[in-house]
Assembly symmetry: C2
Amino acid sequence: MDIKQKIEKANEETAQRMIQGEPVLVDIAPAGEVIPGLQDRMILHSGPPIEWARMCGAQRGAILGIALYEGWANTVEGAQALLEEGDILLGPNHHHQAVGPMARTISKSAPVWVVENKAFGNRAFCRQVEGRQQFGEYSQEPLEGLRRWRDIWAPTLRTALAKIGGLDLKPIMIQALQMGDELHNRHSAASSLFANKMAFAIAQADMPKDAVLPTLGYITNHNLIFLGLAMAAGKAISDPAHGVEYSTVVTAMARNGAEFGIRVSGLGDEWFTAPAPSVDGLYLPGYSSEDAGFDMGDSAITETVGWGAFVIGGAPGILSLVGGTPEQALAYSREMKKITVATHPTYLMPALGFMGASVGIDIRKVVQTNIAPIIDTAIAHKDPGYPIIGASLVRPPMECFKQALIAFGRKYNVN
Amino acid sequence: MDIKQKIEKANEETAQRMIQGEPVLVDIAPAGEVIPGLQDRMILHSGPPIEWARMCGAQRGAILGIALYEGWANTVEGAQALLEEGDILLGPNHHHQAVGPMARTISKSAPVWVVENKAFGNRAFCRQVEGRQQFGEYSQEPLEGLRRWRDIWAPTLRTALAKIGGLDLKPIMIQALQMGDELHNRHSAASSLFANKMAFAIAQADMPKDAVLPTLGYITNHNLIFLGLAMAAGKAISDPAHGVEYSTVVTAMARNGAEFGIRVSGLGDEWFTAPAPSVDGLYLPGYSSEDAGFDMGDSAITETVGWGAFVIGGAPGILSLVGGTPEQALAYSREMKKITVATHPTYLMPALGFMGASVGIDIRKVVQTNIAPIIDTAIAHKDPGYPIIGASLVRPPMECFKQALIAFGRKYNVN
């Protein structure tokens, strides 16, 4: 078998592992109970490794918020001092089987979605999405939201989930893709279907009204609640596809606000990074491109497994958020066929005649075609202390894929 | 003002009345309590008036089922005898502010959705959708389903609805149209959004578990539950638009399984009928075009107010049910602009660049362009005793519109 055949076979294996993923929500537990290697006074951040000094405004703001939320400091200045002195450990979500949207951070007391890939037995984690602290806002109100999640909403959902013995996420995602979601920034359908399931579970679990009512109020009015679940599902699906020798398929795309990084299945744990691109799209009232930080967050794990902007042709409702026309959206979804190795048999887009999602980004095809993956993202402020300011489509720097291809050539002696 | 100006003004008024409709679910009550003119031992049927002897198989089957369900007879033969002897009164849903999908029937003990159009103060009614008795099946199992609706599900929902003081349906329908529903045969999104609202209401209402659990189980697993609500909403929206002098806009399209009939705003209570078209589409396993009855049901009230196949371009998920391509679906939605008088400002289709739904079918335009309205429908069996057998797209006979235009010319002295 020549090198080309070895690569093709490895890529097919990688994509098949992704296709076979069966993500099931099995728990909603404090991160400290379930995330391997998460220590006390440690905060997990998005993207490739990065130290405090180089972090962007949104990531700093989110980390300051967590230090206050965990009670490690009582003032922003106090938190800042701890971080500058290295008294709080930092590490990437991705190094702990976890992912986080935007500047999303994980610390020990924060309940995370625990998603198990039943086909492979691995687990992945993501915290809930709330649109404020995750973007770097650290005032009292968003932190109070984190506390309500920790003290009321998450424990109630945990009890209800235990009552029904877990929740299969794949049927929800299959349906949601036929209901105009793209499973990255549009989760109106998946969130509604998820709330239906959990409302029934909560009713079965016989809990006190002061737990049930606020929790039902939260989940039935949160049209992005499924984002954290889709991200954990994406990570759970992607991880078993990592580590296939000779594979040129991307298994992670993540940004820390300074750098965009990718990992490749056949290239071990190395991140191939380049400066994060600036983003420009549609802004919420009061903000403009001058306020925008660089591209950030782990949420491109959804595109990594074939969702997000890869299936945006089936989700034109999101264009009111990110801009563009339905025809452009259809073209993006078709374009991704050119840089991927497989088509998913059950994640389908009705608007494209029930065409399946494109799975398995091949770094060779990206470099050869000069087509970078398309990513559907939110926009964070360049300074700490703000909520979401907008949304857009973005592409990773080609440099990441070129670097990875060079490393591949070196490792496998390809010239 | 010449006749043409009078017609244009009247049509604009008619369409505006439809656009201004604000449907709110205000009750779920036994039909006998709320429907004007519904007598004891009376059954309401779909479409224009028709006597027992001329009814099609599905309509006969559904009526036999209701006679058994109400306990007016103990056997099918007994029920048939009552009907042949005229001992059970029959009347069209539309003559009682009501509508029914397919062969859907209403009798006194059946709880109906009560939808009030808050902009005009009128009410409309529709029974729940269950896919079996409404298609003419009269065996024990579907009738038992009607009893559970009457005895458990509907009373529980009624109590919960009273707790929250009614439910505004327009926001649900606006969202559902952005989530791949067309509000006629695809209600995956609207049903899920509705179930979330009602789950929260049920939790607030403090009811016994043996009422709550089966009701939540029913509403969170019924992806067509919103169909009855959309139909009642359509009727509530359409009725105030009826009776505008000089208006050539259609205010009802309904089929009794033998005839297709339309009513026109400026032409009083007359039905303009022609033989119902045969339907052919996609069939469920075990059935073929040889089993199909003629087009039937009141559900085209959804197209009458601009939903259903009029917005099918935004609902490509339904093509797996009715057949066709996404491009054809987009073309149907564009085509309907040619025979209507207005565009809805808030019922939008993302797949068409957020174009609004086409509202107000003008019989003049239908005849001039020779384009009949497109309707997204289910297929019933030609014989009594069967559930749903398929789905398709269908168009009404042009004859209805030509007759109406002739009657218009006669009434208003137009030559």
